[in-house]
């Protein structure tokens, strides 16, 4: 580990504000999820503060900066929901290379909620009604409410999938019980 050259640490620390999370982890942007942990391990081996305890203070500080950014990159990219949010940000603005974890999390949550509960008040309302119908076993009403929900949010994959399931598997409700 300690073979990581001083020059390498200096360069990386100097570039940190320009590197996106993929570059920090030395990954290609379309890297599969499985590659992310391996990249985190690989880069951590070289830049973990423990491996540079003997370095002069200034260099230790730079190593710490790099290590913290590696962790941050990993914390965002390892979670597919956060990664999706980050990818969108990056696509919109190449210069915004960082994303606060709390923001990534909140946006990912919102995305999930939009899909799971609906994005519009009426979409949400009818979807919730449909779920209540299903819990009661009233499939006909559930189907009607789902269709209504879809008129407000035709692109909601969750609504659509549930409706499909209802239509395709008439006994589904019994199975669900």
């Amino acid at each position: 580990m300690s073979q990581t050259s001083i020059a390498e640490i200096r360069t990386l620390a100097g570039l940190l504000e320009e590197l996106d999370y993929y570059q920090v982890l030395e990954l290609v942007p379309d890297a599969p999820t499985s590659a992310i942990r391996a990249a985190y391990h690989r880069t951590s081996r070289r830049f973990h503060p423990d491996a540079h305890r003997d370095a002069p203070p200034e260099l230790q500080q730079q190593v710490a900066q790099v290590a913290k950014r590696i962790t941050e990159a990993y914390a965002v990219l390892r979670d597919p929901r956060r990664r999706q949010v980050y990818d969108r940000q990056l696509a919109g603005d190449r210069d915004r290379v960082r994303m606060p974890l709390a923001e990534a999390e909140a946006q990912a949550d919102r995305q999930r909620r939009d899909q799971h509960e609906g994005r519009t008040p009426n979409g949400r309302r009818y979807f919730a009604l449909a779920k209540a119908d299903l819990n009661r076993g009233d499939r006909a009403s559930a189907e009607r409410n789902l269709k209504t929900a879809l008129t407000f949010e035709p692109d909601n994959a969750v609504f659509r999938a549930l409706l499909q399931e209802l239509v395709a598997r008439p006994s589904g409700a019994a199975a669900r019980e």
Partner: protein, 749 residues
Amino acid sequence: MAAIGIDLGTSNSCVAVARRGRVDVLPNAYGEFICPSVVHFAADGSTQVGEPAKAHAIHEPENTIAAAKRLLGRYFFSEEVKKAKAVSSYQIVEGANHAVRIKVREQTLAIPEISAFVLREMKSVAEAQLGQPVTQAVITVPAYFNDNQRQATRDAGKIAGLEVLRLLNEPTAAALAYGFGRGLTQRVAVYDLGGGTFDVSILEIGSDIFEVLSTCGDTFLGGEDFDDRVIDLLADEFASRHKINLRQDRFALEKLKAAAEQAKRDLSIDDEATIRIPDVAQDAEGNALQLERGISRHEFSNLVADLIQRTFKVCDESLQQANLTVRDLDGVILVGGPTRLPLIREAVSQYFQCELKADVDPDQVVAMGAAIHAASLVGDEKDSCLLDVTPLSLRIGVAGGLAETVIDRNTPVPIEQTASFTTFRDFQQSVKIRVYQGESRVQEENELLGEFEFSGFKHARRGEVRIDVTFEIDTDGIVNVTARDPDSGQVASTRIHLSSGLSEAEIQAIVEKHQVTAAEPMAPAGPTAAEAIAALPRRVTSEAAAALPTPEPAAVLAPADAPSLEDDELFAEPPQAEDGIERASSVPDELELATAASDVGSPVGDPEAALGAGAEFDLDLGAGDDSEELELAPPAADAFRHDPGDDGRTRAIGGEIDLEALETGAPSGEMLASDDVDLEPLALDESDLDSLAALADDLPDLPDQASVEDDAMASTRPRQERDQAGASGDDLFGDPGADLSIDPGDAES
């Protein structure tokens, strides 16, 4: 010079060293590898640590300090301290700033001072065995320890004259000892049940990499709780037979404790244990009464079944946090004395449905891991890369008594996050920043790590000042918070080292005290160093902060760059909620903030001078109405609640209505139903399928979810409503709405 590893346990401590590819646990002069973490203070001023100290517990319970670690880094008013006061025979008193002190033989000692006795013992055991001085150590801590507890452990190390190379989480150390140099590729759980705490960590081991995937714990659960169950049983039976409450007799209680623990230990070997305490009490005529009773494994298992189940609740949580199930694990490493009980071994292997790693000594494995890492840090051993996580969410206090998450629990460390804030009032001079750890959105339900005032930024209208607050968690799990004004290089940055415990000066004073007393026996009376320096201002070790002008009350921060912020409309009137707001401190006006022109990263000013001039930043805990002192509004990172657009607001409210309708079984909206919904097959990607699966799971839980939502929504109001509230000065502090934002942009400058 060798660096050692110390497992500083609640009940027992252990020291080890790694040299030339070997790890040795070091025994004391009596050949004992495990040292009870007990300190006895004798009448002649001398102290003893370990077994001899423990032997005094029955005769001199008030001078024998056991399990001090339970109190380490705690506030006096905390639950844990209350609980300890109820069961401890020694005197636990309150020190300055809500600190915990122990009073023994007219001395008042800080908790790290007690722990330092144990550490010093471990150090001298190692020195005797190695035949050379030892000054460097890795000390382990429960994974679930918060920042205050970690700081206090470091302080204890310093007082003991050790350079603490690293704090290592106990389960991580155990995994290291298990996997070091074996080239394993495994996913394991570490189940660590100690005397007073329970930790579980899930790790992925890949040759020299040890990555913690998640860690969870319960600081109120351990072997002593098992003892308590036996004590209760014995005391209740004795009370009903003899009408004598043994629990009120200090000496009888100590005897019960010892007997219960012994019985428990016996049950790890035999099916049946006998408890016999001759002369446990006296009857009305003064005759000695004895207590004798057998207890079987079966009876014991019934007594503690719920405690064991509680450990599995924590395991559930840990698996869930790691996104894993028991099927994903290759084995379990058992750590801690109670895991010697067959009862626990069976329950654990049943729960995890996998192999218990047998080649691990539950009492020594943690010290061994610490020793391995110590050796690799000083270059005596080959490196392993330990990638750990923070066990608790890091939060910042915001308006309305709430605490917003900045770094989630189980986020890997080291990590740094920056959130941007702005002032709330025109020409505001300072802001107050409070930092918490915990899982509650309510401030008070979290652990306060510290609070500090930041000022010296430019005087400007509200919203025109930007303050970046940077939160850092290092590899030891210790938190640092820095506030700075990125706009003006002329303004100082304030670096705060949060600590609920001892200041540098106090530690120094204690170290000096012990250097003196190392030569002579300890002075039995007179004010201690800790008392002598109690008058020193604490909490804020920041030089700049100490020299700040009086903080403005009611200084609520708002987002600097948040596009939605309409300051002038929103806060056309200064808030009227100022009445009754406590003035935080009285710093003389002439104490102007020292400034550094360019080096905003370094502390400014002379702390001693500033403190000497009378600056005082007392920790203000629990007193007064929090909501009126709050000075930060939440960052906008919680985007669904702080959506600048109307859509977000409406959605929040809509959500509530939906859920209500669902709960009351409101009629379905048939009138609006339409049949022309396009039903063409959809291509679902994997994440959709996941969502769908989750959705199906969600269905029966809906009412539950509703209550969570209600909670989340309770503080969210439509913008308009908020504006009105703001204009009337009413309820301004109750609303954590979009007043503040984490700057999504160049969060770091």
